[in-house]
């Protein structure tokens, strides 16, 4: 597609449930990133995929968070046993490589009740 797409755009869940967020990067972009944006806070890095290399998971806040990228394209961010503090906008971005600007998707707004 022309840009990064994410689904769903909004997700409301109950505390303790698992959620899956999806990201479709720009075709041909080898690098894919997940960020979290909370109200009044800067973007928080979560995880980075580059080609077939092992992902950089250093930003994941806890072991409840995991992500995978299948076939070097689509990525799924999974949050298990969601907590209220997980409520935020989850943004996905892709780029052609390590250098250069990242292109962001519209985000998924997650609300944990």
């Amino acid at each position: 597609g022309a840009g990064v797409s994410q689904s769903p755009s909004n997700k409301v869940t109950e505390k303790g449930k698992d959620v899956e967020l999806r990201c479709d990067p720009i075709s041909g972009h080898t690098a894919l990133y997940w960020y979290r944006q909370s109200l009044g806070q800067g973007l928080e890095f979560l995880i980075y995929f580059q080609g077939n290399s092992a992902p950089d998971k250093s930003g994941l806040p806890s072991d409840r968070f995991s992500a995978e990228r299948t076939g070097g394209s689509v990525s799924t961010l999974t949050i298990q046993r969601t907590q209220q503090e997980d409520s935020a906008v989850y943004l996905c971005a892709s780029s052609k490589g390590l250098a250069g600007g990242k292109f962001f998707g519209p985000g998924t707004r997650l609300t944990v009740l």
Partner: protein, 111 residues
Amino acid sequence: EDQVTQSPEALRLQEGESSSLNCSYTVSGLRGLFWYRQDPGKGPEFLFTLYSAGEEKEKERLKATLTKKESFLHITAPKPEDSATYLCAVQAIRTGNQFYFGTGTSLTVIP
């Protein structure tokens, strides 16, 4: 510690009133500095990348400049459609892929 600070937090301008947004950074080895625009409910939209001190980039009413310690986003004769939050991010050579984002400047341009 790598850090990015943006100022002011919020800025209100009359249409046509030029101004500048500031992004101060401390990073051990800058790979690149990036400016983004973010509209409410949307993901950040890429504007510019600057790589070295003295570099300048322009796009319509926006011009970004870079020194060794800070970057400015100059807005010339802004229009109401320029209203958005402007985000600055730095990429350090040491940390490779990670970008450090500031908390942004919320710009409102009043007709």
